[in-house]
Amino acid sequence: MSKRKILMSFAVLCMLSTSAVAEGPKAGGVVNAVIQPEPPSLMMGLVQNGPTQMIAGNIYEGLLRYSPKLDPLPGLAESWTVSEDGKIYTFKLVKGATWHDGKPFTSADVLFSIEFLKQTHARARGNLVQLDKVEAPDQSTVVFTLKQPFGPFIGIFEVGSLPMIPKHIYEGTDFKTNPANNTPIGTGPFMFREWQKGSFIRLVKNPSYHVKGKPNIDEIYWHVIPDAAARSVAYETGKVDVLPGGSVENFDVPRLSKLKNTCVTGAGWEFFSPHSWLWLNNRAGPTANKKFRQALMFAIDRSMAKDVVWNGLGKVATGPSGSAIKYYTGAVPKYDYDPAKAKALLKEANYKGEKVRMLPLPYGETWQRWAEMVKQNLQDVGINVEMMATDVPGWNQKVSEWDYDIAFTYLYQYGDPALGVGRNYVSSQIAKGSPFNNVEGYSNPEIDKLFADGAVAFPDAARGEIYAKAQKILVEDVPVAWMLELQFPTITRCSVKNLITTGIGVNDGFRDAWIEK
């Protein structure tokens, strides 16, 4: 090696080592983010809508967090064990965690939170049905005992699903009218400071956070900007640094991502895996015919919708389960875009051009365009589609009352078929008046049994077989027309580092994030 080369490599080494030092997390700084719409409240135990979870995920914490692969990570619990029969879960809580008002966080708070959420949190109530009892042998230990093994149980401790609620503030009060709801108290990395309705919400660093050295950021401002175009402009003009998934219309994403110092990621949705489909009315009209439903699947060009409407983001769905969640299988009947096949199936289904009412999802331009595209696809194979126009409450009502033939929607899957998939296909979930159950009215005793068995089968390998079978049957039956696994891109300044580290993305808070200066 020549002298020069040695010098060079030394210089490179120096550069590497200095840059390695420079890349460490830095303390300080303010982050401006966008929130849409304005949340009704930040009290996560009472309200679980999207914007609430996004902000309150900084204030509250769950016992566990989840990696992008959905493996459990320590949260307020530092370790956990599961008994061999899969019925007893023992959690060791972190030491030194305190509520924002200084009171210590203990196992008593966990017990209280379970009781609290059973009363107020629809999803937690469902997740906890297999819970027999929960006990706290000491200050930092909690033991959950299940009635029978319930595979998805380890997946229900994320902050939005089971947030920890301070016992000393809520015990013995009327939860819903407690004045403390306006000044939420959690254990999280950031504390609530100020809320100017209609303008912004301000969070500040929790100086006594239980993870040493975190958070790095001093303050977060969440700006309420109701107009989608104004939100992109706010980013463009440098007034906000973070556009969480879904805050701008999809057609603005390519333009914004080309801006200087801008990073875009689709990560952070693995836990929710928003899955979009068309609810087909299985009870009446042409959509009650299985052949007709299969024809729809062949008639709709889903990969073109992905490329044109969603700018290439997301994935064409293959069936009821998203590819990121547990026990997904791609080994199911395929429905590639094939208008000729669709026409043939329509003939077999004896479709005579009856009117089919289609209900788009009133969530902005992107969804509207998607509906128009699907309408075009369906008309091309000779289906007589009529679009229905509604606003959000009207959509909720029409869907809840089964007053439609084809309706756009998307639902979260919460990482496990037993938590977020089965509810759309089992007959016990057919109930008028709610838009989050088996709205299409599909009823198949075999599927009912598979989902019932799948939830409690033990060990995990047994669950996999059951769900693979269920997916095959469903894809053959087409109770709904699966469209895309959606991906809502998070757009940030590249100087905001380490923002998305887990499977719930921005909702997991800014605990690990830092700003490069």
Binding site: V30, N49, G126, K197, I225, T237, N437
Partner: protein, 323 residues
Amino acid sequence: MISFIAQRIAKAIVVLFALVVLNFFLIRMAPGDPALVMAGEAGAGDQVFLAQLREKFGLDQPLPVQLFLYVKGILSLDLGFSFRQQMPVATLILQRLPATLLLTGTAFAISLAFGILFGALAARFAGTWADTTITVAALIFYATPLFWVALMAILLFSVTLDWLPSFGYETVGANYTGLAHVLDVAAHLILPATTIGLFFMATYARMTRASMLEVVRLDFVKTARAKGLSDTVIQRRHVLRNALLPVVTLAGLQAGTLVGGAVLTETVFAWPGIGRLMYEALLQRDYNLLLGVFVVCSAMVLAFNLITDLVYRSVDPRIEFAS
């Protein structure tokens, strides 16, 4: 005059009451209810959850009972409780009212002052290039949709030139005080206020111009001229003053919309005002909040009608109060 005002107030109260009842039923005719919307936003909701919400909001009661309870509340000046925001409606409205009044008030002042000024100029120099410029500009602003003007203004002044902020009421986190704060709010105010103001400014200009050209031909103007008064005095004291009556009528109408009329502008500019509050309440079927805003807006319209009548009299003393 006192009895005139008293009579008008009595009538206004009856009208307001009728409006409350009418609005109550109109809103309930829209499909969907707040419980479904809130469950929808949460992305989950079983029957228990929906039933809990409906019971809490009193939506499980028959409609006449709900109306009775609501009217009873209104009579004791209680506007009710917002379902979604979990706060008294009156508090929510009072929080937002100052921002809206600042915005629409500024727009009102801008449009009235410049509208009359430009209108008078156009009339004074009728037929010249100045008149043509003003008339064409007024026509353009009259015909252009507000939201488009707003977006173009943002593109030009915020994105391209970076002179003015594109959203919000103040620079969040800057913690300005005193004069700096006033200037900061003013900078945020310019774009939205001008956007709203332009339309009315154009209307006033066109109306002032037409009305002045009509008055200028009347006999008393000739008399004034024969008396040897200067042209400026004639234009200002004799022509403009007489020409202003239709403008006052129109200003009265605009003033009525001061509270509720800025939905679009407030949304585009993220201005934390009543218009947005109302729009969001509508989308969320937050009945009490929506009705509350309606009540306040209606009361405002009625009040401004009364004020307009009084202003008429001071502009033109020939108008008398018939009781």
